[in-house]
């Protein structure tokens, strides 16, 4: 039988391809209208915390150091009101086998693929996750394909992405490199269908559950060090899995009073699928170009129901500028002796600002770092920006225009995280739920689901529904 391999033809087989490639029947968790049983999905298809710790320990993942950043704390206190300036800690996730927290996500997915008899794994990612899947596939003896959005139509690629391709290849993976566009998903489906490999999606319950160990470790290590839970944990937010998994881990550890803050690099105004704008950004992840669309519609991912649901767990959502993150990356090297990749430091830039609002006996944790190297480093990323006509200068980072300028703070006191209106984002999510499910009348089950999925209550949901009418 000749299959229809056109874009429409392959996309129309999306659900059956995914069912084979993920092995989850998502229908089992669906309600009648908008609602689905998220916790049931996590319970029945994920792994318990004990199982995950065991899986990760057996492949060298996790138990990364939790370091206190004393010099950066002292620096923040120079600009704080008297008695303010929380202690800043960082979870050094670059110590994982593939150099980022994504190893936790990949460990579970690849373990699951191996256990279920898949011969290989495929992931669509231009980020650290590719290296993580490739590394875990190497350990388990599985084949691995990573599909990357890598170049613009002139064949010019972000140095950061090219470095990640190299890293995947270093672990024995095949890397499929594409030009800009959401049809990457089409190529991804074609490969899944051709190979019968497992879809090591970032958004399955296995992947998200894998990050729970990160939140859990933060609590346990902080209790061992300081005898208490952290007051605030800041998570770099893109697709939402990092924040979701970490927050779930904190809950499992009993850290119910810890505030979970999401932080993204502000790339407002840049279109993520634009060929022309692709190389005008200096961050390929951890930015609002993913953070906002995935928060307001998590089920846009490559599985029918995303296990990454950041609004369920987020207490506050802030943005920082590209210039602020580059500046903090250099600060981490120069003041703390830790040379790490820029993208992971998005939450560090936010934490440096947030610490100044908190009392000095409070504790704020930056929950990840990532590896650094050629291409994936402040120097090549700034150099690439300059080659692409982006103005780089010292000044007030609030004047930065994504795609036109990168403004390094002329003084560290200018680093200020900016709050996004979380209620507006929640409203937008509810609106998308109504639209995408084509539902007019909501059941009690739907109302309860929306309240849980936005970390609000039924009254809030009802108020929003009234406003949307």
């Amino acid at each position: 039988m000749n299959k229809d391999m056109s874009y429409e033809g392959v996309m129309s087989r999306k659900n059956e391809i995914m069912k084979e490639a993920v092995g989850i029947d998502y229908e089992r968790f669906e309600g009648k209208g908008i609602a689905f049983d998220y916790e049931k999905m996590m319970r029945e298809t994920g792994y318990t915390l004990e199982e995950m710790k065991k899986i990760q320990r057996s492949t060298g993942v996790g138990n990364t150091p939790l370091l206190e950043l004393k010099n950066l704390t002292n620096l923040a206190r120079k600009f704080s009101d008297k008695g303010k300036g929380a202690r800043i800690f960082i979870k050094d996730e670059a110590s994982n086998p593939s150099g980022s927290f994504k190893a936790r996500r990949a460990a579970n997915s690849v373990y699951h693929a191996k256990k279920n008899g898949y011969k290989g794994v495929i992931a669509a990612t231009s980020g650290n996750y590719g290296a993580a899947v490739a590394s875990q596939a190497a350990i388990h003896g599985l084949k691995c394909i990573i599909v990357q959005e890598c170049y613009d139509s002139k064949g010019k690629g972000q140095p950061e992405i090219i470095e990640k391709a190299r890293k995947c290849e270093a672990y024995g993976a095949e890397v499929v490199q594409l030009t800009v566009g959401p049809e990457l998903f089409y190529s991804f489906l074609v490969l899944l269908e051709e190979t019968g490999y497992f879809n090591a999606s970032l958004y399955t319950p296995f992947g998200i559950a894998g990050v729970e160990t990160l939140g859990y470790e933060i609590s346990m290590q902080m209790r061992a060090l300081e005898g208490r839970d952290p007051d605030v944990v800041v998570c770099t937010n893109a697709g939402g899995g990092n924040l979701t998994g970490t927050a779930r881990g904190l809950v499992k550890a009993g850290s119910e009073n810890t505030l979970v803050v999401g932080a993204s690099v502000n790339l407002e105004g840049l279109h993520m699928a634009s060929d022309d704008q692709f190389n005008k950004k200096s961050f390929t992840t951890g930015h609002t170009g993913f953070g906002i669309p995935f928060a307001t519609w998590p089920d846009r991912s490559d599985v029918p129901r995303s296990a990454a649901r950041p609004l369920r767990y987020m207490d506050r959502y802030v943005t920082v500028s590209q210039g602020e993150v580059f500046y903090m990356t250099e600060s981490l090297a120069q003041l703390e002796g830790l040379e790490r990749g820029p993208a992971g430091n998005t939450s560090l830039a936010a934490a440096f600002s947030l610490a100044q609002e908190l009392d000095e006996d409070k504790i704020i944790v930056v929950q990840e770092t990532e590896y650094t190297g050629a291409g994936k480093h402040i120097q090549p990323q700034l150099s690439f920006a300059r080659e692409n006509g982006i103005e780089i200068k010292f000044g007030n980072p609030k004047e930065e225009i994504p795609g036109e300028s990168i403004i390094l703070p002329e003084h560290p006191s200018l680093i200020k995280a900016e709050d996004l209106d979380l209620n507006k984002i929640k409203k937008s999510y509810i609106k998308n739920c109504l639209k995408n499910n084509n539902v007019k009348k909501l059941s009690n089950e739907d109302l309860e689901f929306l309240a849980a999925d936005t970390k609000t209550d039924i009254e809030f949901v009802k108020k929003i529904l009234k406003e949307l009418k």
């Binding site: 190299r166 490199q177 049809e183 500046y327 250099e330 050629a374 700034l382």
Partner: protein, 102 residues
Amino acid sequence: MEAKKGDWVNVYNVVLKPDERAPQVPEDTKKVPLEMWIKGFIQEDAQIGDMVTIKTIIGREVRGKLVEINPSYKHSFGNTVPEVFQIGLQLKEILFGGEDHE
């Protein structure tokens, strides 16, 4: 340039022509094709520009136009961006008080 059977090469394909691109794609992206590059061991002697078959590192066979023989990584630490040096100097001045501590 000629590739010998077994050489490590890069092959190229157009996945979607401009008129085949997804409806939601922005206008500038719609003007260009979706292109793809995959590396592997070439299965026959060939010239640059020929349609060839490669076997990728995981053993998958892929057809494509031969565009590069022995493809290399060219990414680096980039050209020096001198502004970066100012950051550490400034921070140390603020935190440790500059010359008083030398």
